[in-house]
């Protein structure tokens, strides 16, 4: 353990912690933008700066090791001034359009501007890049006018998905996030997993499928298991007014043991079939080769009667049940119980092999 003094308070942290980790462990919040506990450290946004006694430079707490005996200030006037400047510099390149932004209310940049009272930037004398918002892919909106260059998307793409579709292109103030030839994602190795959306702290990367359907503070997030392949990824269905309006993911190992928040394109963007107008909303009975709508009672009675009749006339083994690899365990249990105990046959199977 190391002991350090933070804002006049003595705290302890395991040796090898960064200052940020030591502080968070002790309930001292330091703002961060580029820091992501699951990704390689960047130390580049300089939001997390702190002052350490006897050090001529500010330290980026997300990368600076906590050393025994350090005396640290996390919100001193000089630090607050530095953070404000950092925010103002970013604000000067940022297209504030919170009123239409998907991330409004769930945006770290907005939060910190609020916290440090940054309304305008002193540094707006021209020179803001205006990037076209024109990637035609149906999944991800890329609006780099809101990008704050934290590179979390680049690192997530490289380290979680291992697709390496995007990187920092050009240098200095011209630096931007781009695919190899600054083209569309569809022409890159991108697999549209949306991990970049997951880590983006602002509204630069958002889901086109969820656009306009509800902001973070309007939705309930229901933790559940993905309905597609057998990996069993955990995801969060975002619900607003009894409608699924999006999918996000929970990155904690405690709640997302298999995927730790990582998803694939189907899990993250393939949820709107739930609201499809093609959904069946009434039982159907075929008469003279045509379906007609029926009430539940009528339909269920008909099915029960027909099955009962066939059971009696041709025996239980003239019947079979196909259960489903997409239904829950509970339903599969009931389906086979239905076949065995109700119909009286072991003719029950599903498409495990198909």
């Amino acid at each position: 353990m190391v002991t350090l003094t933070v804002n006049g308070r003595q705290i302890k942290a395991p040796r090898g912690s960064t200052i940020l980790e030591a502080c968070r462990l002790n309930g001292i919040e330091i703002p961060t933008l580029c820091y992501d506990p699951d990704l390689r450290l960047a130390g580049s946004c300089r939001m997390c700066l702190v002052e350490a006694k006897g050090r001529p430079l500010f330290l980026a707490s997300c990368v600076a090791p906590a050393e025994d005996g350090m005396v640290i200030e996390t919100e001193s006037p000089d630090i607050v001034e530095a953070r404000r400047i950092v925010l103002e510099l970013l604000a000067a390149r940022h297209d504030f359009s919170c009123q239409t932004c998907e991330k409004n209310g769930d945006c770290k940049f907005q939060d910190y501007c609020y916290r440090y009272g940054v309304k305008d930037s002193r540094f707006t004398d021209g020179g803001r890049h205006v990037y076209p918002i024109d990637d035609p892919n149906p999944f991800i909106e890329r609006d780099y006018n809101k990008c704050i260059m934290c590179t979390r998307c680049v690192r997530a793409c490289e380290e979680i998905t291992v697709a390496r579709a995007i990187n920092v292109k050009d240098r200095g103030h011209n630096a931007k996030i781009a695919t190899a030839f600054d083209g569309h994602l569809a022409d890159s190795p991108c697999v549209f997993c949306g991990q970049c959306i997951m880590v983006c702290p602002v509204g630069a990367l958002t889901s086109k499928v969820s656009a306009g359907k509800g902001r973070a503070y309007e939705v309930d997030r229901v933790l559940t298991t993905c309905t597609y392949c057998g990996t069993g990824c955990t995801l969060e269905l975002n619900v607003k007014d009894n409608q699924v309006v999006g999918v996000t993911s929970n990155r904690s190992e405690e709640y997302s043991p298999v995927n730790k928040g990582a998803l694939c394109v189907k899990g993250r963007f393939g949820w709107d079939f739930i609201n499809s107008p093609d959904r069946l909303t009434t039982p159907l009975i075929k008469e003279n080769g045509e379906f007609r709508e029926a009430s539940w009672d009528e339909a269920l009675d008909l099915v029960a009667a027909r099955l009962q009749a066939i059971k009696e006339s041709s025996g239980p083994d003239s019947m079979a049940v196909f259960t489903s690899a997409r239904m829950t365990n509970e339903e599969n249990y009931l389906a086979q119980k239905f076949a065995r105990a109700v119909l009286g046959t072991n003719n029950v199977d599903h498409c495990a092999r198909l």
Binding site: P138, Q243, I274, F338, A341
Partner: protein, 529 residues
């Protein structure tokens, strides 16, 4: 899976992927494999007729001809035995049947296998050495291994290879079938099989049957039932008269759809319970609207045997009912009262009858879920099976397996091998993904992958519609010219009803044990339109 997904990222030192296009069909597992290979130095061996994404970063890539898996694996075992790379201690202590297996494998020299598989002998040697010499090697496979007339043989061969090198029962080792659908594992676990009750308890076992009879309060049939493909065949023959289909779409997913169609038409009564009017539902006498995973509670069991919660996010859409309620109402109407207040109650009943789930409860499943077997309430679950080389049957049994050719081979009339599969953007018969606007917009139609040489010979241009035919029928499909497969192989997916490839596949060539159809090989031809 004998082992856990996490181990593929953290513990495996060598990953042998055969018959699995992991990055497309199990993308998140694919990410973990790539991570291990790229950032943690694991070795990667890929065997697949198509040069899939993972092949690009493999230490050895083997493009074996579809249907030659047994030969390929026998070849690797031949090398391992001849070069003394076997795990003798494991074989002696934990297995039996080694001699008989070794005898068969003896003739599968890499040179001999090269002739069958077209994989260069040197690559077979290299792969065998990498696999055998790794501290912890795992084999991942999927439908590319099972969907053959020799599917069971293929799987047994894979187990042979793992046992031969002692790659079982430790972290980062094992034999990992990657299950294709979210809850295939669960459906099997729950007894959605003609031969077993929940927990793989045989329906033919008297004692087991007595237990279920007591629990369910009715006498139960003692004989094994029919598999799905057999059921279709029997329906075709008129012996199956009524079929209840719950959330399945055999009119897309089953082989030789003409055959399926005729079978469904012959039924006296077909009831389909689904969320959409599927291709199958169109043949139904009664259609009952079920709900999606968002509208109900329950559990799914993933490919690593992890039981996880499904939580209701929204109320069922107007007019639809959760499938468990529909079944209950139907049973009750048929004179067998079924009443549950919630899926949790069903789970409680199930676990009392299912030893491998006995220790689970919804409360315990919060958070990380549990991997079965979990026999008691204080059992932590089981991340990997066969710890210390202990098998369910006592010792691991080697199987002596000869290579057999796929049932339907190319000939003059049908000179190509058609093999089928999935792609990243769609799922199974497309009922859900085709109705997810973004996915369908991104990949709106089926494509037939054709090697450039073949295309050039036939004068086919990229994007042009061609006719793909087998002995069973033909579809029109867009050509995609790519050199990721050999000149005599073509590939497409089965997601698209507009070009449903299962009109073409072969329902006659089933694996004799698992009854899995040979989706991965049938003889085909293409013609310009």
């Amino acid at each position: 899976m004998t082992n856990s997904i996490e181990e593929l990222e953290k513990d495996a030192k060598c990953i042998f992927v055969i018959g699995s296009n992991t990055t497309e069909n199990h993308p998140v597992i694919g990410m973990k494999i790539k991570k291990n290979v790229l950032y943690r130095g694991a070795k990667l061996i890929v065997a697949d007729p198509r040069r899939i994404d993972l092949a690009e970063m493999a230490d050895v890539y083997m493009a074996h001809l579809p249907g030659t898996d047994v030969a390929l694996i026998n070849g690797m075992m031949n090398v391992i035995i001849n070069e003394g790379l076997v795990d003798k201690e494991f074989i002696d202590n934990c297995t039996e049947g080694y001699e008989a297996m070794a005898e068969v494998v003896a003739k599968y020299t890499p040179e001999y296998v090269e002739k069958i598989t077209t994989v260069p002998a040197e690559d077979i040697r290299k792969a065998a050495r990498i696999y055998a010499e790794s501290e912890a090697a795992v084999i991942c496979y999927a439908m590319g291994v099972t969907q053959h007339s020799t599917g069971t043989d293929n799987v047994k061969s894979i187990c042979n290879l793992a046992m031969l090198t002692g790659n079982i029962g430790r972290p980062g080792t094992g034999v990992d079938p990657l299950r294709g659908q979210n809850n295939v594992q669960g459906s099997c676990d729950m007894g959605g099989l003609p031969v077993t009750y929940p927990g793989y308890q045989a329906v033919t076992n008297e004692a087991v049957r007595a237990k279920f009879e007591a629990a369910w309060g009715v006498p139960l049939p003692p004989n094994n039932g029919l598999t799905l493909t057999e059921t279709i065949n029997k329906a075709h023959e008129g012996q199956i008269k009524a079929l209840v289909v719950i959330g399945e779409n055999p009119m897309m997913s089953d082989p030789d759809l003409h055959h399926v169609e005729e079978a469904l038409e012959k039924l006296d009564f077909l009831v389909v319970q689904d969320i959409f009017l599927t291709e199958t539902a169109r043949y139904a006498d009664v259609v009952l609207p079920g709900v999606t995973f968002a509208e109900k509670d329950g559990t799914f069991t993933n490919t690593e045997r992890r039981v996880q919660r499904v939580r209701k996010a929204i109320d069922p859409i107007d007019g639809a009912k959760p499938d468990w309620q529909i079944i209950c109402e139907l049973a009750t109407r048929m004179g067998y009262p079924m009443h549950y207040n919630s899926p949790e109650e069903i789970f409680e009943e199930m676990k009392a009858l299912t030893p491998s789930y006995a220790g689970m409860s919804y409360a315990r499943l919060e958070g990380r879920g549990l991997q079965w077997p979990c026999p008691s309430a204080d059992h932590p679950g089981t991340p990997f099976l066969h710890k210390d080389g202990k098998f369910t049957r006592g010792k691991g049994l080697f199987s002596a397996i000869e290579f057999k050719e796929p049932r339907e081979l190319p000939d003059e009339e049908y000179p190509l091998i058609l093999t089928t599969g999935r792609n990243l953007y769609h799922y199974h018969t497309g009922t859900m993904t085709r109705r997810s606007v973004a996915l369908d917009k991104h990949v709106p139609e089926a494509e037939l992958e054709i090697n450039p040489h073949l295309a050039a010979k036939m004068g086919i241009r990229d994007g042009e519609k061609v006719r793909l035919s087998t002995r069973r029928g033909s579809v029109e499909i867009k050509a995609k010219i790519t050199d990721i497969l050999a000149e005599n192989v073509v590939f497409t997916t089965f997601h698209f009803h507009e070009a449903a490839v299962n009109w073409l596949t072969n329902a006659d060539s089933l694996d004799p044990v698992a009854k899995i159809p040979e989706y991965k090989v049938c003889a085909a031809r293409i013609d310009k339109i």
